[in-house]
Amino acid sequence: MLFRPRRRDGLPGLSRSIAFTLVWIGLIVMLPLAALVLRPWQDGSGAVLRALHDTRMYAALRVSFGCAALAALVDVPLGLLLAWALVRARLPGRRAVDALIDLPFALPTAVTGITLATLYGPTGWIGAPLARAGIRVAYTPAGIVVALMFVGLPFIVRAVEPVLRGLPPELEEAGVLLGASPMQNFRRVVLPPLLPPLVAGFGLAFARCIGEYGSVIFIAGNQPFRSEIAPLLIVVRLQEYDYDGATAIALILLLSALACMTGVAALRRRVSRGLVARGAA
């Protein structure tokens, strides 16, 4: 067969939007992240290995991961409650509640930080009664969890809400008509399809929380080995001009967050392909 020229036609703007997008992504995201990935190996692997022997770093990572996991876990039932109320309940002021749920996302983290520190501080509205009961929240790891709970909550609600909206109420009615008790109905009919979005929401909240900085540092107390989070340690290392140490922690945080996001994306794909059966727990 003779060679035939391939002709291109179609919606205009492909090359322009590709060029524009690649420059935009390249300069603002790819270039700096390339620096992050390449920098540690620049002076040989010695600096990295030295950084990996830093016990303070491991303590900080433990605090960050532990508190993030705990906060995201506590957010799961709270988020489910709010999503449920938004979709199913006759909720006066639904629009206001709906808007308020995004507040942690829009509120500057520094504002969140000083506010929670004051609120849970020894003389704060919540902190004072707790102090009388002998419970300290501010300037302890518990304070970190409180701050991260605030930050992570919208992720759970917004992950569950659309799935719940797509779930016909007839399912539960059918369950009731088939004689299931309210508890059985919830566990066997309602929960299974909500499990994937709950896990996805947990993953998103967790990924966000391990990197959180502004809302935590004011309430955390920031004692090394006890209430010092990993992002703060990056800042500390930078102030010590220890770029290798800072970069090592940053890489670990970044890879963990990426692993989370990849897991969430994979879960979403499996759900949308029907691989995670809606009815199977």
């Binding site: 919606l11 205009p12 939007s17 992240l33 620096a35 520094a110 506010t115 900085y213």
Partner: protein
């Protein structure tokens, strides 16, 4: 649990209100209360302090540029990803969303690795007396990184759903790329676009971690509003700190309320 039957619904509503009040509303009330502790005039005066005004000015400039750049980039990227099918499209979407999962501190650190004194190009910049790290350009770059995905992310689902027929029709009627984008695609996606711009603005104004790393914290020079709050708070100027926090909280409240209304509009329009 099933169905909003009388008592079940009441319990559910009560639990919801309690959660919303304790977790979401109480902090906002506290901000206002602390800001007004010494009265409105004192709070107002603290905002007129030269360093505070300088912080507000810097924040406005950085926000304006960041929103403009990321809106333009976000629109082009959303167009590219939703109107064409090509290999590597999924990778591109992942890259666009990547900054969301990057810690703000890292978003600041990466620019130091490029432009800081020990960074790749730090020496060169120093020799030519160009200041990026610990100066306004660095703050801008950090803000650009942190607010990168929001316009594209808000636009993409809507534009995907709109398909490309309207664009094809415009093209067949003789409209070029810019004309099609400007008078066919964007008007139809205007609520989503506005919602994305609002979110970008809110995040740009309020960014703390990333900016904190690259700023250098020089009051009156390289402090944005959130950084200035930190300085005031750590200096025990509680009223001034919370006055500025209240200003930011009001902006955040306005943002979420507006976005909620916009989303309601485009959910209705697309159904």
């Amino acid at each position: 649990m099933a169905g909003p039957s009388g008592r079940g619904n009441a319990v559910l509503v009560a639990a919801t209100y309690l959660t919303v009040l304790a977790v979401l509303v109480l902090p906002v009330l506290l901000v206002m209360a602390e800001a007004l502790r010494a009265g409105l005039p004192a709070a107002w005066r603290s905002l007129l302090d030269p360093d505070a005004l300088s912080a507000i000015r810097l924040t406005l400039v950085v926000t304006l540029v960041a929103v403009a750049v990321n809106t333009a980039g976000g629109v082009m990227a959303a167009w590219l990803v939703t109107k064409y099918r090509f290999r590597g499209r999924g990778v591109l979407v992942a890259l666009i969303e990547l900054p969301i999962s990057v810690s703000p501190v890292i978003a600041g650190l990466v620019w130091l690795l490029l432009f800081g004194r020990q960074g790749w190009w730090g020496g060169w910049l120093e020799r030519h007396d160009i200041q990026i790290a610990f100066a306004t350009p660095g703050i801008l770059l950090a803000t650009l990184f942190v607010t990168f995905p929001y316009v594209a992310r808000t636009l993409m689902p809507l534009m995907e759903q709109q398909g490309r027929e309207a664009e094809e029709a415009a093209f067949l009627l003789g409209a070029g790329f810019w004309r099609t984008l400007w008078s066919v695609t964007l008007p139809d996606a205007r609520w989503a676009l506005l919602s994305g711009i609002l979110l970008t603005t809110a995040r740009a104004i309020g960014e703390f971690g990333a900016v904190s790393v690259v700023s250098g914290h020089i009051p009156g020079l390289t402090e944005t509003m959130p950084l200035h709050i930190e300085t005031l708070y750590n200096g025990y100027q509680t009223v001034a700190a919370f006055a500025m926090a209240a200003l930011l909280a009001l902006i955040a409240m306005a943002t979420v309320l507006l976005r909620s209304f916009l989303e309601h509009d485009f959910r209705k329009a697309s159904s």
